[in-house]
């Protein structure tokens, strides 16, 4: 094994020898550099592998042959091996990436690069404080040299700001070092463990530590760093983010043993503040490189937290830090490199990236990885971090992390959405030479591999997690195939998967029901996809991701699996929504709300750990005393997905702007995940109180208001899909209400309604998709009279709306009937009446839906329309059959559903006497009702047919219209603003308070962020002052105002 | 004792030179003043039994740095015209 010191010696020899090169030999020089970095990588890599496999023992290199503290020693353990390998590998790839630049730059730049790498290597390995100082200085100067790779005025002044800052920092560091020496008599970190115990010694520790913390670019003393990120060449930006920052953080890690225990959490807090606020400020950043800079700094802050609290995190420390470190390393480097290829800091110009599907995919992967969504390591790391913090009651910390994360998601996905939708630049084609692609591809692959190892490490269930992930991966790999093949494959794999897991969940009705909804829903909603031509690139992997994410929710082994499935589903559906033509903003909203919900849930999981230990929240058996907060957090999270009023504003946009045939999946199927969660907490937690209020009571009201609100909003929609989307809000309100009744009947209603809503909503959306597919418009007032050309779709909608309205004899009535019984038993008359009212309000929009679209006057441009394609109709009719069966034999569904509900839930259950359903209040016989209705209907129909058998078919236009013939269909189709009178009367009910509230939140946060951003004046001197100020404040907080 | 007084005097001169460097009207004077600060520092180093440091400070800190300063100043002054 080559001694690690030779990383340095090889590098230095190269650096020095490069000086001999001539201008004409530049290519050879680059090659030499490449070989040198490769050799450096190999040395550190061999140590890494050796230590990992155990074939090599970690070692200390004693320079000059003297034992420390008499001489400087370099250490090579697992930690250093990882970091040096990162540094050197990165250097190697940077050389490749910069091939064209280096070929034309002078030899000096080559030297500077290699010296930069050496500096970082030594920073990582050395155990001597002063040596650290020296190599920090080397790195600083080399960084300044790299800054001026582009010699424009921006980067020059940024470089100068950096020099000022680093002078101040190194001054502080040097004072600290010399103080330390004067107290303890040596310079080796390993011999300083009791430095802080000596009187005055903690001042030295403080100075050293604060210098390194400042070097790690903590908010808000980091303006210089931001300016560097913004103006440096992207490859250099990536170096700053991917290797400089980790190396400095590692120094902090090295210093931690000499830092008094009581400081740890304060430093951690400072790191967390950086994380939160940097992400917050990044939300207002349009310049890509600066935004990435903010993001890098934020990640650095988070890592600082972890590092400074390594003792707190104990055994999980490595897991957490590696998760953040590696993700940030691969992803941030990748993003910066991509920036270099796109060669623009304008988000709008990034559209060109779409011309390179692989790069675009990697771009997405990087963004997602940084955002901390599964299956990337950050996700698991964040999870573990929150859990550990929760264990230690660090609630404020969790709040900060989650806040920061939501800001992070906000700007990252705003960016992603913009790139997804930005106009492709027609003139400028993206130039992606191989040497620029190779590093990105490699890092992309490495990121995925890392994710794989993280997932592997966590030992997930094979059938319920690993297999789905595998399938999703496969769909990424085969994305080049034609759409119909992939559609077939996905349907087939879902079917086979269903077959495989059936034995696993057989007998567990709950799982069967939800698995059924998700799997069958997934399969059926995919069928219309057969009309798609081309490859439909990017749809199927995410459809698979969504569906399998949902499936993971059904039988999670633990909270993590559940959360992972949840996030995976959110991500998949986000992409599905984003694919819609005008979906940029709605998708962004969806992502934000999803993330908000997910983080609330994460907080809830943390709290749960505190209350109930490491149990899956759905398996808690009943009472969780004092768990009101947990319950509320969970409830909020799930109600976000279920779009309870106030939290619903994402829904209409997201559902309506998604691709038409994807809408059923993201709405009808996906929304049930919220119900699943709510059901679980409702059954698992038992009644809960918060500040003395019964939470169920509040949830009941929320449900009732949601039901009314959703339906009220639906009335005035002219857009077909938005109308159905709002109707989902209403339905969810209904379900939330039913769940919060917390009685056997209530839960039964919720479950029943969940299934039913799934059926009819999917059906309606599909039917709408069929109509839109033919008419090419979503505005209902532009349609009309389509019953003639699309009778089958009409039937589906008719049955759908009868079911939705809960009219007997169809299945919807069962829900309404049970609902009354449950309400009366519970005594929630007012809320119940509100929900009932909402049910009637539903009539308005249902009528509008069916009448505007299918009835009335056929428009001229629709005269030649055909029925919706067969593949659209097929799943719809499968649903119709399901509804019919349920209408006649509701017990088929209701009886199994009733077995899910645990016995401890209070209230009376539904009794069955043959076909007669009974409660102590009422009774109802679906079969009999159906029979009576059918007979009646048939008799009257027969009578009519008999009587008007010779009825003459006339044109729709052939009407008496105040003695005038109408001349255009539009004038006789009174569809626009149909319920004007209603609006006049009750329009005040739909004052968009929620929208106003959220707009206000967004406006205010933007304004605050802008205000805060002005802290970074751009003046290097001010930045230097920030550094001192930061140290000053840190000192005051650490010492409590006294002299240490 | 003499040494101490000498040191104090030198220290005072150093500080006054440092202040001069910050307050001098012309940059040239400021640079010179800071060179003198270094120079005096090297004398103090000698007094503090650090001849190696004294040499280095004199040659590099005081000498070379000042020269580099003047090169740059010269260039800027010339461009200024």
């Amino acid at each position: 094994m080559v001694s690690p010191v030779h990383i340095v010696s090889i590098g230095l020899i190269t650096a020095f020898l490069l000086g001999l090169g001539k201008k004409s030999q530049q290519s050879i020089l680059v090659l030499v550099l490449l070989i040198a970095t490769a050799a450096m990588t190999m040395i550190s890599g061999s140590w890494l592998i050796g230590i990992m496999t155990g074939s090599v023992q970690p070692t200390d290199v004693f320079t000059a042959g003297f034992k420390p503290p008499f001489a400087i020693n370099l250490r090579m353990t697992m930690d250093e091996a990882v970091l040096t390998t990162m540094v050197n590998l990165f250097g190697f790839l940077t050389v490749i990436y910069l091939f064209d630049v280096l070929k034309n730059a002078g030899k000096h730049l080559l030297s500077i690069i290699v010296v930069f790498l050496i500096g970082l290597n030594v920073i990582v390995m050395t155990r001597d404080l002063f040596n650290l100082f020296v190599f920090l200085e080397i790195t600083s100067i080399a960084t300044a040299g790299l800054m001026i790779m582009i010699q424009d005025s921006k980067s020059i002044s940024a470089g100068f700001k950096f020099l000022i800052a680093s002078s101040v920092i190194s001054g502080i560091l040097l004072i600290g070092i010399i103080f330390a020496y004067s107290y303890i008599g040596n310079l080796n970190i390993d011999f300083m463990s009791n430095l802080s115990l000596i009187k005055g010694g903690s001042v030295a520790v403080f100075l050293v530590l604060s210098a390194i913390i400042l070097e790690s670019k903590q908010f808000p003393a980091n303006g210089w760093a931001l300016d560097m990120y913004e103006s440096a060449h992207p490859a250099i930006g990536s170096a700053l983010s991917a290797v400089s920052a980790p190396a400095v953080l590692f120094v902090i890690y090295k210093l931690m043993p000499i830092v008094p225990e009581s400081w740890h959490s304060l430093i951690g807090l400072f790191g967390l503040i950086t994380f939160t606020f940097s992400n917050f400020l990044a939300t207002r950043q349009g310049n890509i490189r600066r935004m990435l800079g903010y993001s890098s700094i934020a990640q650095g802050g988070l890592m600082l937290t972890v590092v400074s609290m390594s003792t707190f995190f104990g055994n999980s420390f490595w897991f957490i830090i590696l998760g953040f470190l590696l993700t940030n390393f691969f992803a941030k480097a990748g993003l910066f490199w991509l920036n270099g290829m796109v060669n623009s800091d304008d988000q709008n110009k990034w559209g060109v990236l779409r011309k390179r599907p692989v790069l675009f995919f990697l771009f997405g992967a990087f963004v997602v990885a940084i955002a901390g969504l599964p299956p990337f390591p950050t996700f698991f790391a964040k999870w573990e971090m929150i859990m550990q913090l929760a264990n230690g009651n660090g609630w404020g910390w969790i709040v900060l992390i989650l806040l920061g994360s939501i800001f992070e998601i906000s700007f990252l996905f705003k960016w992603f959405g913009r790139v997804f939708h930005a106009e492709e630049e027609k003139i400028n084609d993206i130039r992606t030479p191989w040497f620029k692609q190779v590093p990105v591809l490699l890092f992309g692959a490495a990121l995925l591999a890392t994710s794989y190892y993280f997932v592997e490490y966590l030992n997930f269930d094979v059938l319920f997690v690993m297999l789905p992930l595998l399938i999703v991966t496969v769909f990424f790999a085969i994305d080049f195939l034609p759409a119909f093949v992939k559609n077939l494959l996905l349907i087939a794999s879902l079917t086979i998967y269903g077959y495989l897991i059936y034995p696993e969940i057989d007998g567990n009705v709950m799982q069967l029901v939800f698995m059924g909804v998700f799997l069958v829903g997934g399969i059926l909603t995919l069928i219309p996809g057969f009309t798609q031509k081309g490859t439909r690139a990017g749809f199927y992997p995410f459809a698979a991701m969504t569906i399998f994410g949902l499936i993971m929710l059904v039988n999670p082994a633990d909270n993590l699996t559940f959360f992972m499935g949840w996030e995976q589903m959110a991500l998949g559906s986000y992409i599905l929504i984003l694919r819609g033509k005008k979906a940029e903003r709605p998708a962004q909203q969806y992502m934000l709300f999803s993330a908000g919900g997910a983080y609330l849930m994460l907080a809830a999981f943390g709290l749960l750990l505190h209350f109930a230990g490491d149990t899956f929240f759905g398996h808690l058996n009943g009472m969780l005393p004092g768990g009101g907060v947990v319950f509320v957090l969970f409830a909020l999270a799930f109600m976000l997905k279920a779009a309870a009023i106030g939290l619903h504003i994402w829904l209409p946009g997201a559902y309506s702007e998604a691709e038409d045939d994807a809408t059923p999946l993201v709405s009808g199927v996906l929304i049930n995940s919220g119900v699943l969660g709510l059901f679980w907490i409702a059954t698992a937690f038992g009644p809960q109180q918060l500040f003395g209020y019964d939470i169920y009571q509040i949830m009941g009201w929320v449900g009732a208001i949601t039901a009314i609100g959703g339906n009220m909003l639906a009335i005035y929609e002219e857009d077909m899909k938005r109308l159905i989307a709002y109707s989902s809000v209403g339905a969810m309100g209904y379900i939330i209400f039913a769940l919060s009744m917390n009685s056997k009947l209530g839960l039964l209603i919720a479950l029943y309604y969940m299934v039913l809503h799934f059926i009819y909503k999917t059906m309606l959306f599909m039917s709408a998709a069929g109509v839109i597919y033919r008419t090419k418009t979503r505005n209902m007032y532009e349609m009309g009279g389509l019953i003639k050309s699309m009778p089958w779709s009409f039937i589906v909608v008719l049955i759908g709306i009868i079911t939705l309205a809960g009219m007997p004899p169809l299945a919807g009535f069962a829900g309404k009937w049970m609902f009354y019984n449950a309400v009366v038993m519970k005594g929630w008359y007012l809320q119940g009446t509100m929900v009932f009212f909402s049910g009637i309000v539903a009539f308005l929009y249902l009528y509008k839906l069916i009448a505007s679209v299918f009835l009335g006057q056929l428009k001229d441009n629709h005269r030649k329309l055909k029925e919706a394609p067969f593949v659209y109709l097929l799943p719809q009719f499968i649903f119709v059959i399901a509804i019919m069966v349920l209408s006649v034999f509701p017990q088929v569904l209701l009886e199994p559903l009733a077995t899910i509900i645990p016995d401890r839930i209070p209230g009376e259950a539904l009794h069955w006497d043959g076909k007669l359903a009974m409660t102590s209040f009422g009774y109802w016989n679906a079969f009999s009702v159906m029979s009576v209705v059918i007979v009646m209907f048939a008799v009257i129909f027969g009578w009519l047919v008999y009587h008007s058998r010779k009825a003459q078919k006339v044109k729709q236009f052939n009407i008496v219209f105040a003695a005038e013939r109408p001349f255009r269909p539009e004038t006789t189709h009174v569809s626009y603003n149909m319920f004007a009178g209603y609006k006049k009367a009750l329009g005040w009910l739909m004052t968009p308070l929620a929208t106003r509230f959220w707009t206000g939140v967004s406006d205010w946060s933007m304004a605050i962020a802008d205000k805060m951003r002005s802290w970074y004046t751009g003046n290097g001197q001010t930045y230097a002052m920030h550094l001192l100020l930061y140290a000053f404040v840190l000192y005051l907080l650490i010492s409590g105002g006294k002299i240490l | 004792m003499v040494v101490i007084i000498l040191t104090i005097v030198l220290g005072l001169v150093m500080i006054s030179m440092a202040v001069t460097a910050l307050t001098a009207q012309r940059v040239r004077a400021a640079v010179l003043a800071s060179g003198i600060v270094s120079l005096i520092a090297s004398i103090i180093y000698l007094l503090l039994a650090a001849p190696d440091v004294a040499m280095t400070e004199a040659a590099i800190g005081s000498g070379l740095t000042t020269i580099i300063f003047f090169y740059v100043l010269n260039k800027i002054r010339r461009s200024d015209v």
């Binding site: 002063f130 020296v134 200085e137 100067i141 300044a144 005025s153 020059i156 002044s157 100068f160 020099l163 000022i164 002078s167 101040v168 001054g171 040097l174 004072i175 010399i178 020496y181 300016d227 103006s231 600066r290 951003r1013 002005s1014 970074y1016 004046t1017 751009g1018 290097g1020 001197q1021 230097a1024 001192l1028 | 101490i4 040191t7 220290g11 150093m14 500080i15 440092a18 910050l22 940059v27 400021a30 640079v31 800071s34 600060v37 270094s38 520092a41 103090i44 180093y45 503090l48 039994a49 190696d52 440091v53 280095t56 400070e57 590099i60 800190g61 740095t65 300063f69 740059v72 260039k75 800027i76 461009s79």
Partner: protein
């Protein structure tokens, strides 16, 4: 009077230089003056380090006829800070040189040396 040692004088002078240097670096508007301030800052730092190495009544750590070769640890001042200062001085000149070249180039782009004129990247 007991505080009036060579070491303490050195330390106080050094500290004052550090503060003066920092003050200058933070308040001067001319880039060159900022750099000058930093050299003063550096000089202060070095002085502090050397002062710390001093022990009253001892000699420079060079073995010659006067010192002999025994019991040197009771005759010499501390050599370590001196070695550190040497490094620090060299680093100082490197950094100063780099900063000055930056200043030169900045002057070239803007024809100005006012630090306030170089704020094209901010927020």
């Amino acid at each position: 009077m007991e505080y009036l040692t060579l070491q303490n004088i050195g330390l106080v002078t050094g500290f004052l230089l550090i503060l003066i240097g920092l003050y200058g670096a933070l308040t001067q508007k001319n880039i060159l003056r900022i750099i000058v301030a930093f050299t003063i800052f550096d000089a202060g730092l070095n002085l502090v380090i050397v002062a710390l190495s001093y022990i009253k009544g001892r000699v420079a750590p060079i073995i010659d006829q006067t010192t002999g070769i025994t019991n040197l640890s009771e005759k010499f001042v501390d050599p370590v800070p001196q070695a550190l200062v040497l490094t620090s001085i060299v680093i100082g000149v490197g950094v100063t040189g780099v900063m000055l070249t930056f200043a030169l180039r900045m002057f070239k782009t803007r024809q100005s040396l006012d630090i306030n004129d170089f704020k094209e990247t901010k927020w």
